[in-house]
């Protein structure tokens, strides 16, 4: 007998574990996990094939709240563990959740190298510009002057821009979204998932306890249209509540500027069209900061090349074909041996 039972479609909730979620009420992480559940359900990824790795931090609690396989590792090292797992079993669908301190401070080296190697991982960087779990110290993405328990007079060291660092390390896919931007997030995550190789998604996240409102200046509903721009491949870089502002080439040369269509003779033709294969454009978009520029959201760069895991496995296959493995006894007897016989 062969009765086909239709596989029940997975719903967003099926991706949630039965564990009580312990983020602070109002934490941006709640919105992010909701967006991830929705994305996974849209992709219908089988739970047994899905693995979430994380380091340490508030963000890193993520795997415990997922119904998939999960490994909550140590601070900063999740990309290294995920790399080993991906090499050992390339069929796994691996996601890595990292905080800004986790990914860019203690784990900066691993993040950079996972990106450089182009390991097929979906790297989600929850950037709240603060150390949440350790109670609010400033982080490598905190704005200059951030007052925190470890910088009571304000921080004096410049922050880094995660996506710029990633592009500098040779990233083939970088994107940005933010926690409450639920309409936008699944599309970005799906694009990251579709990209074979290291995909870095910076997810701006509000830490309601230690850095509340850090991003209100451009994520708040009242200002988001004017102070951010959602880019799409092949579409003009237009933004603003009235859709009359755009990103154009800087006057007489290199760089970009914000223009207003209809002012000073600027027309829509002057506005640049987003090209996700253009690395120079991606670098400029990634680096756009308030108040001079809108913050860029969406897939800034998507230009795939061979993934590390593919390359490693191709090499393994080539070697195995050229010299098929023998038995252990053959291995031990390869090269020069000599035999001592009885009575010699």
């Amino acid at each position: 007998m062969n009765i086909e039972t239709p596989v029940e479609a997975l719903k967003p909730n099926d991706y949630a574990s039965d564990q009580e979620v312990r983020w602070c009420p109002g934490c941006g992480d709640y919105a992010i996990i909701k967006g991830v559940h929705r994305t996974l359900a849209e992709l219908q990824i089988p739970l047994e094939n899905l693995v979430f790795f994380s380091g340490i931090g508030c963000a890193a609690r993520f795997p415990y709240y997922m119904a998939s396989y999960g490994f909550h590792t140590i601070h900063g090292r999740a990309p290294a563990l995920a790399t080993g797992a991906k090499l050992a079993n390339p069929d796994l669908d691996i996601w890595v959740v990292m905080g800004d301190g986790d990914a860019l401070s203690i784990g900066g080296n691993h993040t950079m190298h996972a990106i450089r190697r182009n390991v097929d991982l979906n790297l989600l960087l929850f950037n709240n510009e603060i150390y949440g779990l350790t109670k609010g110290q400033y982080s490598p993405t905190s704005q200059l002057g951030t007052r925190s328990p470890s910088t009571p007079q304000g921080s004096v060291d410049a922050p880094l821009t995660p996506l710029s660092v990633a592009l500098g390390a040779g990233a083939r896919f970088v994107a940005r979204t933010f926690d409450t931007n639920q309409k936008h997030m699944p599309g970005v995550l799906k694009a990251a998932h579709a990209h074979k190789g290291a995909s870095l998604v910076e997810i701006i996240q509000n830490c309601i306890v230690y850095n509340d409102g850090a991003f209100d200046g451009w994520t708040d509903r009242k200002v988001v249209s004017d102070n951010s721009i959602t880019v799409e491949h092949g579409r003009p870089l237009i933004f603003g509540a009235e859709e009359n502002k755009g990103i154009a080439q800087a006057d007489g040369g290199f760089g970009i500027r914000v223009v207003t269509i209809g002012v000073d003779g600027v027309t829509e033709d002057d506005v640049l069209v987003h090209d996700e294969n253009n690395k120079m454009l991606a670098m400029m978009l990634a680096d756009m900061k308030q108040p001079e520029f809108p913050v860029a959201l969406g897939v800034l760069y998507n230009n795939p090349s061979k993934s590390y895991d593919d390359a490693v496995h191709e090499q393994l296959a080539t070697v195995k074909e050229a010299s098929p493995p023998g038995t252990i006894n053959e291995l031990l007897r390869k090269g020069r041996t000599w035999t001592v016989s009885e009575g010699s």
């Binding site: 574990s17 795997p63 415990y64 291995l331 020069r336 035999t339």
Partner: protein
């Protein structure tokens, strides 16, 4: 030189039963290669042998300096030997610096072969000699063979169309040729090697072979000083079987592959280069066809983490390094321990602390292996005693790691990794399989369900339907595997993790006595690469009628069950170590035994004579 003139049918050669030769020269002179080739020929001649490569930390230290001297010692014999020998019978010194560093080890009457072409005023000064040692009586107590090796090499390769620099570089093969003649070694293995190595550079190959043959011909035709002649060292009377020369590095690599195969797993090595462990990465990456994936990580932390990730995904994760790199891996080893994943950590020990003496040997990471982590983190520690033993210990490490779901530390050292010995090749099929069984049954599953006998948790890998679960560094509930901050549960989990490791004592062989009786006046207890020296020293004392025994530990944690009783059968316990005293403290701690420490931290292996003296001073009179 142990001479014993025999009427052999080997022409006019004088028979010796054992010889120790030391090749020494500038790091650029190719002494390691010369030694390795001589070793290969010697192994093929059926002698028992042991070697000791000793090279500087600098890749190419300034030419002619004493700190740039590289040496290779080989001891070969017609009987069973265990160490590379205490003092050389013959020193081949390719320059004044080599003479300066090594002459002090050559006993009176020993032979010194010198390349006089290197004894220029400049080199003599550089080596720190005020006067030319060939002329000022420095060598009065030795048999000296001074040869213009550069000149003779250049003449030998004149027809080979190589540059004069390339020609001079062949001088080590000239010296090798001479030694092959002197000790009746065959040149063919070296010629085969040269042809293979320089297949694409036929001129270079021809020049090296010409130099080798010229050195050999020189021995045949030139009249040498009195006291020097051609020798033969008859083959050793060893166990019948098939043999090969093996280094500890090769044996660990093969053992890991064999172990993974016995467990039914693919092997994943995550590593970061460090002397003297890099060779293991190089060796394993050359064996990809045996299901080996190697990953040169961005640092040691990523190396161990990638190996843990690979184990999590269902491979056998292995990471290799030396002391400083193991220190970096410490936090991640704790993660593997608490998530109870199999992991083999190979520590090829070197001189420390910090950068220390990277190319010298030491066994000073025992405390690090046994105790060196935060919190209560016991894990199995195994130590290899000889190059060949590395094969068995590597398999044992894999067996314990997979059966007990735990990281295991395998301790070797720079001496074991680099030195070669003839090895009777075991029958791998005769070693029992220990297949891993992944959990597939969802019924009643949680990730920390334990096997009642071994206490190992069940291993379910990603990709298995119905067994999705989360693990991590936070303490887990004994009964459900979920996160738990409960204090009683933490107490219970700490105890069960320790009990699991302690229980391994039931699953390892009882401690044997390597030499001597099971009771007596003195037990000499060792671990690791001091095996040969201790064994030989004890053997000499036992044949001299002294009441002494040698006990050598493979399992450092947990100890074999009978070790305490065994030690209590001796009046005194002496523990020689190439460190400032580590095993001795672990033994005192565990068994309240009044063990005495003998230490040597010179970066050199123990001499048999040193240990013999220490033993005699305790049991004689």
């Amino acid at each position: 030189m142990a001479t014993n003139v025999a009427s052999s049918n080997d022409g006019e050669r004088k028979a010796l039963d054992s010889v120790v030769i030391r090749f020494a020269g500038d790091s650029g002179d190719g002494m390691q290669l010369t030694g390795t080739q001589f070793t290969q020929s010697t192994a093929l001649m059926g002698n028992d042998l042991a070697t000791f490569p000793d090279f500087p930390a600098e890749i190419r230290a300034p030419a002619g300096t004493t700190f740039g001297v590289s040496a290779f010692q080989i001891n070969f014999a017609s009987y069973d030997i265990q160490t590379p020998g205490d003092d050389p019978d013959v020193l081949v010194a390719m320059n004044p610096a080599a003479l300066k560093v090594h002459l002090k080890d050559v006993p009176k009457g020993g032979t010194v072969i010198l390349n006089v072409d290197a004894f220029t005023d400049r080199n003599i000064k550089r080596a720190g000699y005020e006067n030319n040692p060939l002329e000022d009586g420095t060598l009065d107590n030795h048999v000296v063979i001074a040869i213009e090796i550069n000149k003779l090499t250049n003449a030998a390769v004149a027809d080979c169309e190589v540059t004069s620099k390339e020609a001079t570089r062949c001088k080590n093969f000239w010296a090798l040729g001479l030694m092959c003649w002197m000790y009746n070694r065959e040149r063919q293995p070296t010629i085969d090697w040269v042809n293979q190595r320089f297949g694409k550079l036929p001129n270079i190959a021809a020049a090296n072979i010409a130099a080798l043959n010229a050195g050999h011909a020189y021995g045949e035709t030139v009249e040498l000083p009195s006291g020097v002649e051609a020798y033969v060292v008859p083959r050793a009377d060893v166990q019948p079987g098939t043999y090969r020369a093996v280094t500890g590095t090769e044996a660990v690599a093969w053992g890991l592959i064999a172990g993974a195969k016995k467990a039914g797993l693919d092997l994943f090595l995550g590593s970061y280069p460090i002397t003297p462990a890099s060779a293991l990465l190089h060796t394993l990456t050359g064996l990809k066809n045996y299901g080996v994936t190697t990953f040169q990580a961005e640092d040691e932390i990523a190396a161990v983490c990638s190996a843990i990730g690979a184990s999590y995904a269902g491979s056998l994760g292995v990471t290799s390094s030396s002391g400083p790199g193991i220190a970096l891996k410490t936090e991640a080893i704790g993660l593997a321990l608490v998530t109870e994943l199999p992991l083999v950590i190979v520590n090829v020990q070197r001189g420390g602390p910090s950068t220390g003496l990277p190319t010298k040997t030491e066994q000073s990471d025992l405390f690090q292996a046994v105790y060196g982590r935060n919190a209560d983190t016991p894990l199995p520690v195994i130590a290899s005693r000889t190059a060949g033993d590395c094969f068995e210990t590597a398999i044992e490490a894999v067996r314990i790691a997979t059966k007990y779901m735990t990281p295991v530390i395998l301790l070797t050292d720079g001496f074991l990794a680099n030195s070669a010995e003839p090895w009777e090749i075991p029958d791998a099929d005769a070693i029992a399989d220990f297949p891993v069984e992944f959990r597939t049954d969802p019924e009643g599953f949680h990730p920390y369900l334990r096997n009642e006998v071994t206490l190992a948790r069940n291993w379910a890998i990603p990709g298995t339907p119905g067994l999705m679960h989360r693990i991590g560094g936070i303490e887990k509930d004994y009964d459900s595997g979920h996160i738990s901050y409960d204090s009683d549960n933490h107490h219970r989990m700490t105890k069960v993790r320790a009990a699991k490791i302690d229980g391994i004592a039931k699953d390892i062989p009882a401690q044997e006595v390597a030499m001597g009786e099971e009771k007596g006046k003195l037990a000499v207890v060792g671990w690791g690469s001091t095996f040969g020296a201790i064994n030989q020293a004890v053997s000499r004392c036992v044949s001299g009628g002294l009441n002494v025994a040698h006990i050598h530990l493979r399992h450092i944690h947990p100890f074999p069950k009978n070790l305490g009783d065994l030690l209590s059968g001796f009046d005194r316990v002496m523990v020689p170590e190439m460190n400032n005293g580590q095993l001795v403290h672990v033994l005192r701690d565990k068994y309240l035994v009044d063990a005495e420490s003998i230490t040597q931290i010179t970066g050199q292996p123990f001499k048999v004579s040193t240990l013999e003296r220490e033993i005699r001073s305790r049991v004689e009179g």
